[in-house]
């Protein structure tokens, strides 16, 4: 059982790497870092033990990809939540709420509503006719080779975008939280994840996701109860939000001149109203479309429905997932606003401008502050859960990408299904190592890049390519190979191309113009402030001016840095001086285009097989005939 020994070794390496004293300062003070490692060590220990047990049960490709279809509805519901609640939603949404109030909470809604699409039209039919991958569904009645190729490419594209965001975001997050070097944290996440997936396949991945989801929900419930005990439940809580001086100051800061004639209560009330963050409604709607239709096309989520034995279990798992995910987002409202009161937006933004530290700092503050054992234990716990979150999500993504590579491209297209069961498992493991190594390499290569929009892009591609193809092949008789190939290509390319020419990219010319403005204005401004400083009547006034002065000097240095960085650059990655497409989220254009392409491609192409197989597919997706048989072995 050398594979099990390897699993343990991977865990040991990961632990050793985390414990290496190559540490800088993070949110966790150096004095308390051992506590974080202790909590994290326990989590790694438990999950590695699960992997050790799981490794014994992985014999076939079905075991590796789908845990042999032996996951229950309840287990799968928790695993879906663990797969879906990435660090971005766990830490990011709490941060958005703590900094921007109502708009942050509104943002979370789409992430739950997305599961209605999954529940109503995707989960059960996919369970009834699918096997291991998204392309299995496309290949059912269409030309298997052609659809497997386009399906696998799209799956690998979506997973790679998502994976890059997780690896880079995770590396930064762990550095901010614990102070571990970026590269080390990327390697640790990669090695751990490889340990789970390679040896334990879907069984271990499922359990890692379940354990992570349980930890996440437990931590949130504990924190929210502590918040409630201090600030009151619903009505009292919101009254406290309105009356809180930190929140009032934050709203005044956001509104700037607009806040001049507002009373403190009005400022606090404004925090509970829309419009502080989102100024471009069309962009919000476009993002909403990508979420609501894209989740149903995310390969790592779709794959989870092949792990349950029946359509009923698939249904049950979505219901559980919706209860857990929705409940979690409702709790996030209190976590976010709680940390806005307890910690304050200024302090949260000082450590991380995106707000990712809202929940961790709230935990520390609730436990008694930066010098208390309980406070640091709670911070350590949240930090460890964040790390586990990244590992669990990455594991699911790698498994999805590896299955597309091994099952669709290698077994399906190259070997044309002529493979022994042993070869299938071997191919799956080799693909896992390739994707895992790729994830680590991309993570290190993309250090310092802004990857925040890559998650939204992954959803956009899933919504514009995968979703129309899966939906129409399941429900539309006329759909055929021509439509799937055209839809996949047009959907993927449009979504990516629109982002490449959108404001998400870096436009040196505009940046330099703005920086030049700062540089030009700075000398006069600094001179005036220096004069003010000398003329300040008392220490308080002096300190205030000094603060502005330091800020102005900082701005100047930053602006000079920008000018230096883009010296000689005039255009963005694709040669544009300014964005050609004004929206950050391409969904509103690319999703309809994706659907249109599937329809047009299908109408223009003749495909007898797609037509002949329709009755079979339609009968099976609706009734589940033969579905039980598919999991019997």
């Amino acid at each position: 059982m050398s594979s099990r020994r390897f699993a343990l070794a991977a865990g040991a390496i990961a632990l050793a790497a985390v414990a290496t004293p190559a540490l800088a300062q993070g949110a966790v003070a150096a004095k308390w870092q051992w506590l974080t490692f202790a909590v994290f060590g326990v989590i790694i220990g438990v999950t590695m033990f699960v992997t050790y047990l799981a490794a014994k049960r992985v014999h076939s490709a079905a075991d590796f990809y789908t845990a042999g279809g032996g996951v229950s509805g309840l287990q799968n519901g928790w695993a879906i939540a663990g797969d879906y609640l990435s660090a971005a939603s766990f830490l990011g949404i709490a941060g958005l709420i703590s900094i921007w109030g109502y708009d942050g909470f509104m943002y979370s809604v789409g992430w739950l509503v997305a599961y209605i699409t999954v529940l109503l039209v995707i989960a059960e039919p996919c369970r009834n006719i699918g096997k291991y991958t998204l392309a299995d569904i496309l290949a059912y009645r269409n030309n298997p080779k052609a659809t497997r190729i386009v399906g696998a490419i799209s799956v690998i594209t979506v997973s790679t975008f998502y994976l890059t965001a997780q690896m880079v975001g995770g590396g930064v997050l762990v550095k901010t939280l614990i102070g571990i070097d970026y590269e080390i944290s990327v390697v640790v996440v990669g090695v751990l994840m490889l340990g789970y997936v390679l040896f334990g396949g879907m069984v271990a991945t499922t359990w890692v996701q379940i354990i992570k989801a349980v930890l996440l929900v437990t931590a949130s419930i504990v924190l929210v109860i502590m918040v409630w005990s201090q600030y009151g439940f619903f009505g009292d809580f919101l009254n406290n939000v309105i009356a809180d001086p930190k929140i009032q100051a934050r709203v005044a800061q956001i509104l700037g001149d607009g806040a001049k004639n507002m009373s403190p209560t009005e400022l606090g009330t404004r925090f509970l109203e829309p419009g502080l963050l989102f100024k471009a409604p069309i962009d919000q709607i476009s993002l909403g479309m990508a979420l609501v239709f894209g989740t149903a096309g995310l390969p790592h989520i779709l794959m989870r429905f092949f792990t349950v034995p029946t359509a009923q279990a698939a249904r049950k798992s979505v219901i559980w997932a919706m209860a857990i995910i929705g409940g979690f987002y409702v709790l996030t409202l209190f976590l976010g606003m709680g940390s806005a009161m307890k910690v304050g937006a200024d302090q949260i933004r000082a450590i991380d401008p995106g707000g990712n530290m809202a929940a961790p700092l709230l935990a520390q503050a609730l436990g008694g502050g930066a010098d208390s054992l309980l406070g640091n234990f709670m911070l350590a716990f949240v930090a460890a859960v964040a790390f586990a979150t990244i590992v669990a999500v990455v594991a699911g993504l790698v498994l999805a990408a590896a299955s597309a590579m091994a099952h669709d491209l290698y077994v399906g297209v190259i070997r044309e299904e002529h493979v022994t069961p042993q070869e299938q498992v071997k191919a799956a493991r080799i693909a896992t190592v390739i994707v895992g190594a790729m994830a680590i390499a991309i993570g290190i290569a993309a250090k310092g890049q802004n990857v925040a929009h890559l998650v939204a892009l992954a959803f956009a591609v899933a919504a514009s390519a995968n979703f129309p193809c899966v939906l129409l092949t399941l429900y539309w008789r006329r759909c055929n190979t021509g439509g799937i190939v055209l839809g996949m290509i047009v959907g993927t390319i449009t979504a990516i191309a629109l982002v490449l020419v959108s404001p998400n990219m870096t436009y040196p010319k505009a940046l330099k113009a703005a920086a030049q403005k700062v540089v030009d204005a700075s000398p006069a401004k600094i001179e005036k402030l220096t004069a003010d400083l000398a003329a300040a009547p008392d220490d308080a006034a002096k300190a205030k001016v000094q603060k502005t002065l330091t800020g102005a000097e900082k701005d100047l240095t930053a602006a000079k840095g920008t000018l230096d960085k883009f010296k000689g650059d005039e255009t963005s990655l694709v040669g544009l001086e300014k964005p050609w497409f004004e929206l950050r989220n391409p969904g509103i254009i690319s999703i309809p285009l994706g659907f249109l392409s599937v329809i047009l491609g299908s109408l223009l192409y003749r495909d007898k097989r797609a037509d002949d197989m329709w009755d079979e597919l339609y009968a099976r997706q609706n009734t589940g005939i033969l579905a039980a048989k598919a999991v019997a072995h």
Binding site: I116, N239, L272, P281, Q312, R315, K316, T623
Partner: protein, 110 residues
């Protein structure tokens, strides 16, 4: 993949009961789907274009916007439970009958 050619899928799909199941299910699913999508997009649309409405206080500190955002959760869960109830009670039974017939005809599970 299991050998599926021995089944007469045309006959199964042409069966009156399959037809009835499919018709009922499609109307129900797509009705719910359209409702949920429309209800969801009312939130960002309302927050952007009907801010004055969203700012109206209903009781205490609670305004229309907060209630509406919370209602999104309740509605999503409501749809999920309603669908599960309907599927468990009606669709599953109808589908099970069809599956049983098919299995009887083709020698049951292998």
């Amino acid at each position: 993949m299991a050998d599926t050619t021995q089944y007469d899928w045309k006959a199964i799909v042409a069966d009156q009961r399959f037809h009835a199941l499919h018709r009922k299910k499609m109307a129900f699913l797509w009705g719910l789907m359209v409702f949920s999508v429309v209800y969801y997009f009312l939130l960002p649309i309302g927050a952007a274009y009907f801010q004055d409405l969203f700012k109206i206080k209903v009781f205490g500190p609670v305004n229309v916007g907060i209630l509406f955002a919370l209602s999104e959760f309740v509605v999503a869960w409501g749809i999920a439970f309603y669908y599960a109830y309907k599927a468990n009670a009606e669709f599953d039974t109808a589908a099970a009958e069809i599956v049983m017939d098919v299995e009887k005809k083709y020698g049951g599970r292998k």
